[in-house]
């Protein structure tokens, strides 16, 4: 939709991420949270990231932005080139500058990232003064515009309020406003609209689409809302157990999902038009997600997969291209209903 995109954004990737591996050292042992994640983000592209709770979506982004405390986290490998410059090799100071200005980040929990003792106005104007060198008055005016952009009524007077005086969805919108403040090249949004009702969500998505068009902003949008992904993303990356299990342009992913986990995910949706909407139980994927306490030596989805066969318990499938621009990590061919020949 909107901006035409080449099937392979590789040539002009704004952000190129390779082989991120992140572990946590805990009492129970080593948690293998992210196991070799890589992706590319084209200019003006929206990459949707979906996946099971605990599959490593947040940790992947926090790793590449240097936002995880080490220890307990250990970043075993990985690179993340923003317009050629590897963020994961920068020192803390340079990285902080990149984060406020060229990369905007919206945290999953607004209350962990908004400072409870500072007014929302202060938290919005600070990056504007720091990165864009605005004076106090100009920054306040811009801050009020930003709050207005995300649909907060009476923006000017609300600048002097503290985060606890805002509703859950308003806090999320404040976070979005802060991330957009400096018109970043890349916006990484981690579940940014979970608390928002559909009308405001639609408004925010419109703002985001407009910024993408006008500024060529590239966007990574992490969400579990498959409806939002359908309306916003150009490509979608599906994660499970710290790995990418499927990646494709949005239409083929919804029309022809190839990974058994993705297929299960799409089946679990209740439909708003479902005449039967209120009856019975919702379909969920049986079983539990992997504990991640061991390095993956087999397919992470195998214990819950209806198609699993012996090979799946011995080997971990790699992400491979199967059909144009459609990558899957699975030994089974769902189209033929049989294990893959190779």
């Amino acid at each position: 939709m909107g901006v035409p995109l080449s099937a392979a954004p590789a040539a002009e990737a704004v952000l190129a991420v390779e082989d991120i591996q992140t572990r946590f050292h805990t009492q129970e042992g080593v948690v293998h949270a992210v196991n070799g994640i890589g992706f590319e983000l084209g200019e003006g592209e929206v990459l949707g990231v979906v996946g099971e709770s605990g599959s490593g979506k947040s940790v992947t982004m926090l790793s590449l932005l240097g936002l995880l405390p080490t220890p307990p986290a250990e970043i075993v490998s990985g690179s993340a080139r923003l317009e050629g410059e590897d963020l994961m090799a920068l020192d803390a100071d340079r990285l902080r500058k990149v984060r406020g200005a060229r990369v905007g980040f919206i945290f999953q929990d607004p209350m962990t990232s908004l400072n409870p003792v500072l007014t929302v106005g202060y938290q919005l104007t600070e990056p504007l003064r720091l990165h864009l060198g605005m004076d106090k008055a100009a920054a306040r005016e811009r801050a009020a515009q930003l709050l207005d952009l995300v649909g907060i009524p009476e923006p000017t007077s609300r600048l002097s309020d503290f985060p606890h005086q805002f509703s859950g969805g308003m806090r999320q919108r404040v976070m979005i406003a802060i991330a957009l403040a400096c018109s970043p090249k890349v916006l990484i949004a981690d579940e940014p609209t979970t608390a928002l009702d559909v009308t405001i969500q639609a408004q925010i998505l419109d703002v985001v689409k407009r910024l993408r068009r006008e500024l060529g902003m590239s966007i990574i949008w992490i969400t579990h809302d498959l409806g939002v992904v359908a309306g916003l993303a150009d490509r979608v990356m599906v994660m499970y157990g710290g790995q990418v299990v499927e990646r494709a342009d949005v239409k083929s992913l919804y029309a022809r999902p190839k990974h058994p986990y993705t297929r299960g995910l799409l089946r679990t949706l209740p439909s708003p038009d479902d005449e039967d909407g209120s009856s019975g139980r919702l379909a969920s994927i049986p079983g539990h997600p992997p504990s991640l306490l061991e390095a993956p030596a087999s397919c992470p989805f195998a214990p819950r997969c209806e198609h699993a066969f012996d090979r799946c318990h011995r080997e971990n499938p790699m992400l491979e291209t199967r059909g144009e621009g459609h990558e899957v990590a699975c030994f089974f061919d769902v189209d033929r209903g049989a294990p893959r020949a190779d």
Partner: protein, 342 residues
Amino acid sequence: MPTESAMAKACVQSDDATPVLLEVENLAKHFPIMRGVFRRQVGSVRAVDGVDFHIRERETLGLVGESGCGKSTAGRVILRLYDPTAGRIAFRGEDIGGVRGESLRRLRQSMQMVFQDPQDSLNPRMTVGSIVAEPLVEHGVAKGRALDDRVDELLNAVGLSARFANRYPHEFSGGQRQRIGIARALALEPEFIVCDEPIAALDVSIQAQVVNLLQDLQERLGLTYLFISHDLAMVRHIADRVAVMYLGKIVELAPSDELYREPLHPYTRALMSAAPVHDPELEAARERIILTGDVPSPADPPPGCRFSTRCPMATPECSAREPEWRELRPGHRVACHYAGDA
């Protein structure tokens, strides 16, 4: 195919003989607005401004509406986490608007809340095991071995491994933290739970698990829920009746199937038309009723009908006179001058 739970639900709906568990009349909560160096009160945010509804035993009432319209505040006043500014709250016929001290503590055993922001209920310095155990210990329900078993059981019920009981909240993903809050609210097996966006941060498969769990518990223990959510499909699935809130007021309340089939209030219609569809082709094609105009501030709501500044059907009459809360059909109430006119 109607399942057992759907049939149980149908019974509840038609059974006016089921006792009312909770009833609120003209309930209001206003927050003072303080400004200037002397922090003088210059006005008030009318977050909840006169709402009436009841919930019967074993019933689920859905509460939907735009971000900032007062849903969380309503939930918190009902549970007496805030003192009401005006109105009556009756639990099992007893007025609880003014109870304090020991009686309030006892009341807390029967009424719980799953918080929208997990931060609000998870102490960062306590392990997850002790967070879930705390209410059990405080109310002397279990100790020793029985306590440990109960905590394991609760964690399992929300799809978390009991092995992680020694971890701290920050060591979990966003969706995992949300589930810890649910386990804690369930600990005392309360009669009534306010679920404030309990599933917003969860992926669809785990959403389904949690919703199924809430429904199982309802059947097994006869729980009653106030279910706050912006996910209209999920609310339709879980709720027997749904209340739609706009700027501190309830504008429509009806049995859920009827509300979704035939919304009568213009705001409800707009809300339904904006719900995302999980299909990129449909998503690109469909028509939305886009609401124009800014969301008015709850500190200064418009006169007459509060929706009149954005309503596509508004007439001069609408801003002159507040619409009555009319019962247009049995159990279906609307606050709009023109609802039901052909």
